[in-house]
Structure formats: C-alpha cells, structure tokens
C-alpha cells in the first residue's frame, strides 16, 4: 500500500477569488487511497525517470488548407513535468488539432512545439496518444495491441510478455488479454488504449476525450483508475475534453479554449490534492464555478454560429456534475 501524504485540500485561484473556504475532507481521500493498486504492478512497465515530460507550445498557429479562420491561433502553453493539464472547449474548437500538434502528427503553420527542450518533429512513442475513438488495431488481440509498440522497438519476446501482462493488470484487464478488440466493451477498449500508450513509458501522455463515448458509471470508474495511474506514475498528461466535470475531477490546471478561432481564453488552477473524492461537494461547487466562467464563452460561440436569434438558455441544471459544453452546440 502506498503511503500518501494526506493534505488539506484547497480551492485556490478561482475558488479563492469567489471567497470559498478551504477545508479538509479526509475520509474521501482515505477511501480513494485504499483503491490504489500495489506498486509492484507497475514495475517493469514504467521507469520513474526524472527530467522528462515538459511540454511547451509557443505561439502556435494552425489553419487547414485555405480556410479563412485559423483553427488555433496564438496558443502558448507549458505543461510541467508530472502535471495533469486538461483542455476544455466546445466541439470543433480545435482540441484534437491541439493534441495532434503536440503529438507531432500535424505540423503547425507558426510557432513551435517542444518536448524537454527539443523540437517535436513527428509522431513517436515518447508522446503516446490515446485517441478519441481508441484506434486499436482490430486484427490484434488486446495483449498484442499493447505489445505492438514494444515489438516495434525490437524488444525481446520474454520481456515484452512481462510488460504486457503488467500493463493489462494495471488497467484491471488481467483476464482479457486474449480477447479481440471487437469483443471488448467501450470502456475496456479505452483501457487497452491507455495501456498501449503507457507501456511505451512515454514522457507525456496525450489523451483526446478518451471517455467521451462511455456511460456515466464507466466514466467515473475510469476517472478513478486514471487518477490512480497518474499518481503512481507521475506522468505528464495533456488531456482534452468538452466536459467540465471531467476537467475538474482530474486536472491540476484547466485551460479553456475558445472557438473560431481557437485561442486560450482562461486558465484555472484546481488546487485540490489527489486522489480526489469525486462525490465531494467541493468538486460540484468547483464544476459550477468553472462552468459559469466559461458559459459566457459558449454563449458567444453559439450566438456567432446561429446568428442573432440565439438566446442563452436560463442557467439550466446547476450543480450537475457534468456539463457538456459541446452538447449544447
């Protein structure tokens, strides 16, 4: 079992400005701590290397073909080593494009992307990505999918097998290695995709709405597991979503993107310690606050897209854990 420092959790930044009180919620944290998998599971999967995983984007510009409006403009973002940064924004605002830029799969028209001080040239395993629709290879089993990247590295079979096994257990799929992709549920597929990325021991993990297609229960379960994984591996994670609830649960820092053109609107620090109790009132309170902060932006986008007729809906479903920015567009 992990010995986790149990700290008072605080709402700084946004919460503080709104005059919220900081307080301790120990029971929730203890409960979450007990869920953690033993550290041995990760041995052989992840090297705990220091000095890796700082992702910088400077002055990124991106437009597609001859499009009039830039998809992304003036994006400067720094993700520190071991930090969990969540980017939220309405559908179509360029979140996937932002991740593809970080992954090196798309080239920026201006600005630069750097990982640990080196310019990103193309896709590679040190910037592993979990795709919006998993992108697992359907001709391989779950285990072979996870093994794929190691095979490409030329690792020996025995060593590969051990790591794959550990990775499968890490995402709680120890008995599902031999299943084909289409035999897995949506949640399982995303977990295999996470394992496939993690087994490469990347410097940063890029996640593109990995849980968007899942039902609320599965999503909550996977939020817990991802948080667990992140605490244990101390990976740098850049995570993209349109759900504020998801962002508040997971993030150290939330970046709010605007659309048309996509630029960074706000940055919100979530200073709640990890692991978090997702049911705590503090989380829902923060969700509400963040949502109000960005509602303005969503309304603006809607107005621009629908013309002048559009009027904002009277603040609906307050306090709801999940607010889909994209859903209303």
């Amino acid at each position: 079992m992990f010995a986790l420092p149990i700290e008072n959790y605080q709402l700084k930044g946004l919460g503080e400005r709104r005059g919220m009180e900081a307080g301790a919620v120990r029971s929730g944290e203890l409960k979450a701590a007990r869920r953690l998998a033993p550290a041995e599971l990760l041995r052989g999967v992840v090297r705990r290397e220091v000095g890796r995983g700082m992702l910088e984007m400077r002055g990124i510009e991106k437009r597609f073909n001859s499009s009039r409006v830039a998809v992304l403009t003036g994006i400067s973002l720094e993700v520190k080593r071991g930090e969990f940064v969540v980017v939220v924004g309405p559908s179509g605002c360029g979140k996937t494009t932002l991740l593809n830029l970080a992954g090196g799969m798309v080239k920026p028209d201006g600005g630069e992307v750097m990982l640990d001080g080196k310019a990103v040239e193309g896709p590679g395993p040190e910037r592993a990505m979990v795709f919006q629709d998993h992108g697992l290879f359907p001709w391989l089993t779950a285990a072979s999918n996870i093994e794929f990247g190691l095979r490409m590295l030329g690792m020996r079979r025995r060593e590969r097998r051990d790591r794959v096994e550990a990775a499968l257990r890490m995402v709680h799929l120890g008995n599902f290695g031999e299943k084909l992709v289409h035999e897995l549920s949506g949640g399982m597929k995303q977990r295999v995709a996470i394992a496939r990325a993690m087994v490469m021991d990347p410097a940063v993990l890029l996640m593109d709405e990995p849980f968007a297609a899942l039902d609320a229960q599965t999503r909550t379960l996977l939020h817990g597991q991802l948080q667990e994984l992140w605490i244990q591996t101390k990976k740098t994670i850049l995570f993209v979503t349109h759900s504020v609830g998801e962002a508040v649960r997971l993030a150290d820092r939330i970046i709010v993107l605007s659309a048309y053109p996509g630029r960074i609107r706000r940055e919100i620090r979530v200073e709640l310690s990890h692991p978090r109790d997702f049911d705590s009132p503090q989380i829902s309170e923060l969700v509400r606050l963040v949502r109000t902060e960005i509602e303005e932006e969503v309304n603006r986008v809607n107005r621009e897209m629908a013309g002048d007729e559009w009027k904002p809906a009277a603040s609906a479903h307050l306090g709801d854990g999940f607010v889909d920015l994209g859903g209303s567009i």
């Binding site: 799969m105 896709p123 395993p125 992108g135 359907p138 001709w139 794929f148 289409h182 490469m200």
Partner: protein, 268 residues
C-alpha cells in the same frame, strides 16, 4: 426436381441424345471421363445402370482419366497464373494507392480494360507468345490482375487514417508501417479482392484453354474436344464441372477466408 422433369420429358418424348442430352447422359459422360463406364442413359432394363457392352477403349484408373488430368493441368496453370496476378495486381494496387498521379493515369485505363472479356486477349497472346503455356498464362494474368489492383487500391483507401497515426505513434515507421499496420489493416479488402480476382482468373483460364490447343490439355480443352467430336453430353458435363470447381474454390476457399478475416475484425 428440374432434373427429373428434364429426364422424364426426355424419356417420354424421345429426344435424340446427340442434339440435347438427358441428365443421365451427362452423368454417363462425366463418369466416362473418369474412366468409369456406366449406362445410366440406356433404357432401364436388366443390368441398369451398368454399361451393356465394353467398348474397345481401354479401361484406366480413375486418377489417370482425362477429367482428372485436365483438372490437374488447369489447376497448376491457375496456381501459377493467379500467383503472378496477385503479385502484379498487388504491387500495382499499392503503387496506385501511394501515388495519386499513377492512379489518375492507370485507374481509368484499368476500369476500361476490366470491361474487356478476357478471351479478347487470346489473339494478342497468340501473336506475341505463340501457342504455348506462356500465352495461356498471359491471358489469365491479363484477365484478373486489374481486378486485384483496383480492389486493393480501394481497400487501402478505406483504411481509417487513425490506424496509420496509431502506428506512427507507436514507432512503426517506414516499411514497418506497411508490414505491420497497412497490410493487416487492408486484409478485409484484400480477401475480397482475391475472391474477385479468382473468379476472373478462372474464367480467363477456361476461355484461354478452350481456344489454345497446346500439348497439355486442360479443362477448357475438354470442352473443345466435346465440340470436335460432337459429344453434347460431354460438353454439358464439362461445363457443369467448370461451374462446380469454380464454386467450390470460391465457397470453401475464398469465401471462408473472407469470413474469417471479417470475423476477426468484428465486421458483418
């Protein structure tokens, strides 16, 4: 059902078997080509369905019979020719997918050539290669490799781009991307294109053998023989054999392959 009406009508009306054979004559002819003498087509009486009198022809073993020999000869040609087709078609399909310019150049040409019945290659083959095995192979390859190239190109085009991105992300660069990502990803399309290519190849081969009279005699030649000797029963028998062989290979070979690939991918 149809067969029994056909047979019944034949017996009642009394068609002449050299104009149009009854099923029983076709059975006789088929078995005859397998060196088994039977008399299904004779009047039903004592000793039916065994042949009444032994003909002057020598009896041989079934495996040395004309039908089996022809089958083997055709089979060997098919394997050779179809392999060549797969190689040509595969390489061209890949190149057409990779370079749009080549696709623009060859795509319409191939589609046009596909409408050309493959026997139309025979005169050209005779003039260029002469009446020999190479000529037959030429017709077979010409008749089937377009189909494979086009189907493969279309299949590759349909690969979701996410597989390529996932492959690159996991370090599959250069030839590895082709070998470990694009090739397996195109398997469903590949299986389909092989299946289609086979039916083209089989038809081309039969057509070519029908016209080419070379030393080694394939199934198509048996058809031509039937015509030469005005043996209608044999003609019908060989046609049936062609259909059955084509169907068996398609159903138990390529369709099964396709099904297995699709099951693996969770399609259909």
């Amino acid at each position: 059902m149809v067969l029994s009406i056909w047979e019944g009508a034949y017996r009642v009306i009394g068609w002449r078997s050299w104009v149009f054979p009854a099923p029983s004559h076709v059975v006789d002819a088929t078995l005859g080509m397998l060196n088994v003498r039977t008399g299904f087509g004779e009047g039903i009486g004592a000793g039916w369905p065994f042949a009444k009198e032994q003909s002057g022809r020598e009896e041989g073993s079934w495996y040395g019979s004309p039908l089996i020999r022809a089958q083997v000869v055709s089979g060997v040609r098919l394997v050779f020719g179809f392999s060549l087709s797969i190689v040509f078609g595969g390489v061209l399909g890949l190149l057409m997918w990779r370079w749009e310019g080549l696709d623009k150049l060859l795509g319409p040409l191939f589609l046009g050539l596909q409408t050309l019945p493959s026997v139309c290659w025979v005169p050209l083959a005779i003039l260029v290669f002469g009446i020999n095995e190479t000529g037959i192979l030429f017709v077979l390859v010409m008749g089937s490799f377009f189909a494979i190239a086009i189907a493969l190109r279309d299949g590759l085009k349909q690969i979701p781009p996410i597989y390529q991105r996932a492959g690159l992300m996991l370090g599959a660069a250069g030839w590895r991307l082709y070998r470990y990502v694009l090739l397996p990803a195109s398997l469903p399309a590949l299986a389909g294109s092989l299946r289609q290519g086979f039916s083209f190849a089989w038809r081309s081969l039969m057509g070519a053998e029908l016209i080419f009279a070379v030393k080694k005699q394939g199934l198509g030649y048996q058809l031509a023989m039937g015509r030469e000797t005005a043996d209608v029963a044999q003609v019908v028998a060989v046609m049936i054999v062609m259909v059955v062989v084509g169907m068996v290979v398609d159903r138990w070979g390529f369709a099964k392959l396709q099904e297995r690939v699709q099951a693996r991918f969770g399609l259909g």
